[in-house]
């Protein structure tokens, strides 16, 4: 039985439908992420699980029981807030002890558990400090310790890494993964940052306008996006408008406008005559010099218009003969060189016949 079930939940704010009839289930021990742009409803859903908001229709079930009208303090679910929400007038140790005191645990037990919780987040020596004395990353960890100390059934995290700088964020991502694994508690994570979601989660639910567009493991969402929105939102994608010419179990033949005929992997919903896009990730696009040999089925000639160097990889923006622009990713294996190809250099781009995915939207 799943740990948390959201059954046909709808939430409206006046004319705006924030959550539109969502049904999903979260398994025990998962790191589950709600991913989507601002306004998609992910935080609203989180708050309903925590008990700070109630659905207009539908129900939320935890451990096989309807949470219904239960106030937040009676739910075995704790939240790590975006602003950390540490109590400024209490020390770190008192903050972490708070949920145990609310659960009326004996003082000896409280002291022991607080110590253990602080050790879990590597802040064992900060017990007597006050929140205003801590850095952002440390506050983050105190918030985590506080929410985990009495081992709730589920931990909700509302964009906790948003305020941290890039390096710190990466560090915290690794810590979060190992923390979740060690403690074994189900994490429900809310974010709009898709690299984060991909890195942390067992499963992701991609949300837009109150609905779940796709729910799957990160690699499947990345590799097989369900529609144009998901393909575009996760990572970068080239979108080539195309129409189906022929479709069978081995693959598709697409008419991609001025590019001519393109081969693509099979797609269930494809019918001859159907219009859509061929979505190709830049790393699937090979780029070689114009005169190099090319054996891949889909290949086209063009010129380099621009490039983006980020250190480990360079993205080339190639303009094909008919004006279409395609992005190709190339690893920079030669140190000191920003790029292999210069602007205006004639090149050839190509991809495998089973690369990319045909999407109808």
């Amino acid at each position: 039985m799943p740990l948390l079930e959201i059954r046909n939940v709808t939430r409206r704010f006046g004319a705006l439908t924030a959550i539109d009839n969502i049904t999903l289930a979260i398994e025990a021990g998962e790191f589950f992420t709600l991913l989507g742009p601002s306004g998609c409803g992910k935080t609203t859903l989180l708050r309903m699980i925590a008990g700070f908001d109630a659905p207009d229709a539908g129900s939320i079930w935890l451990d096989g029981r309807d949470l219904a009208d239960k106030p937040p303090e009676q739910r075995p679910v704790h939240t790590v807030f975006q602003s950390y929400a540490l109590f400024p007038h209490m020390s770190v140790a008192s903050n972490v002890a708070f949920p145990l005191q609310m659960a009326k645990k004996p003082p000896a037990e409280i002291a022991a558990k607080v110590k253990q919780a602080l050790e879990e987040v590597h802040l064992a020596d900060k017990g007597a400090s006050y929140p205003h004395e801590l850095s952002g990353g440390q506050k983050q960890r105190v918030a985590l310790a506080r929410a985990l100390v009495n081992r709730p059934r589920m931990l909700l995290l509302d964009e906790p890494l948003g305020a941290l700088d890039a390096k710190l964020r990466e560090q915290m991502e690794i810590e979060l993964i190992s923390l979740q694994r060690d403690v074994g508690i189900t994490f429900v994570f809310v974010t709009h940052a898709q690299p984060e979601a991909l890195a942390l989660s067992h499963r992701i639910a991609v949300m837009r306008d109150g609905r779940v567009e796709q729910m799957d493991a990160p690699s499947r969402i990345y590799g097989f996006p369900a529609n144009r929105f998901v393909a575009d939102f996760i990572g970068n994608c080239n979108m080539l408008p195309a129409t189906v010419v022929e479709a069978n179990a081995h693959g598709l033949r697409l008419a991609a406008g001025a590019l001519g005929e393109v081969a693509a992997p099979p797609a269930e919903r494809a019918r001859p005559g159907q219009a859509g896009v061929l979505a190709i990730r830049p790393e699937q696009v090979h780029i070689v010099a114009a005169n190099a040999a090319q054996e891949l089925k889909n290949h086209f000639a063009g010129r380099v218009r621009d490039f983006l160097y980020i250190g480990d990889v360079t993205t080339y923006v190639v303009e094909l003969e008919n004006g279409t622009r395609i992005e190709a990713l190339l690893a920079n294996s030669a140190p000191g060189r920003a790029r292999f190809f210069e602007v205006d250099e004639p090149v050839k781009v190509a991809w495998r016949h089973d690369a990319g995915i045909f999407l109808v939207d």
Partner: protein, 258 residues
């Protein structure tokens, strides 16, 4: 920031304008002369007369009693009002809380006079003054408490509930400690306002009861002696220490006014 030197002269002039008259009052409370025109010699006579002035002592007792009670009740009601104004949208609440503060005092004094005598058939006295003082002090406390709440991270209160605290526990363990500086500042301000109030007290005190400001007014109008200077100086000392205390407890609270 550029330090415009020319600002110093007018600024110091304004400070002088504010303090010199008060200094004169204090100075002449020690003046050995009935006429506060020239300095004759140092004396504590006026203070001695003050200590023997029964009417003045009675008025002081009343002022103190009213101020303490008014501050207590107004602080409780004002804190509740401040929290309510911050958290809920109750139509009319802000209007009712803030208008007594914003309107000229004479209006509140006069309407309470009519209300007490005409409607309640109450003889004016300590009770009527007390009620009047509470009415305008509530607004001050509410303003200060609300300002403090507005400056805090809302999610702290949600976190308390999230971690298992009932609404009452959340209030007792998280909200109250955090607004305590504002509540204290509000209490001190209420006390000060009540002790110093003249206009509203003037209309609601009736014949039998006097407070320090009323006594001072009578003295100024009827028989001006440096005793007035003496009681003024003493009163100044009391409220001065209260204001300094309030500024230590909640430095932002006082700036939040207006």
């Amino acid at each position: 920031m550029n330090k415009a030197r020319w600002l110093w002269a007018p600024s110091l002039a304004v400070y002088a304008f504010l303090y010199v008259p008060l200094a004169i009052v204090v100075l002449f409370s020690f003046n050995d002369s009935r006429l506060s025109a020239e300095w004759v010699g140092f004396t504590l006579d006026w203070y001695r007369r003050l200590a023997a002035d029964e009417a003045m002592l009675a008025a002081a007792r009343n002022s103190l009693l009213i101020a303490l009670t008014a501050a207590l009740i107004a602080t409780v009601l004002g804190t509740m009002a401040g929290i309510a104004m911050h958290r809920y949208r109750i139509r009319g609440l802000a209007f009712m809380v803030l208008t007594p503060v914003a309107m000229p005092e004479i209006l509140l004094g006069v309407s309470l006079l009519v209300f007490f005598i005409q409607v309640l058939n109450l003889t004016l006295g300590l009770a009527s003054v007390l009620v009047a003082h509470i009415t305008f002090c509530i607004g001050f406390v509410a303003i200060v408490v609300r300002a403090r709440l507005a400056g805090m991270d809302e999610s702290i209160f949600e976190a308390a509930r999230d971690l298992g605290a009932t609404p009452w526990q959340s209030f007792r363990l998280v909200t109250l400690p955090l607004i305590l500086p504002a509540v204290t500042a509000g209490a001190l301000m209420s006390f000060t306002l009540s002790i110093d109030d003249f206009v509203i007290t003037f209309f609601t005190a009736g014949v039998g009861v006097s407070t320090l400001p009323l006594q001072i007014f009578t003295m100024i109008k009827v028989a001006v002696t440096p005793e007035v200077n003496a009681v003024s100086t003493l009163l100044m000392l009391v409220t001065l220490s209260l204001i300094v205390l309030a500024s230590r407890v909640a430095p932002d609270a006082l700036k939040g006014r207006g």
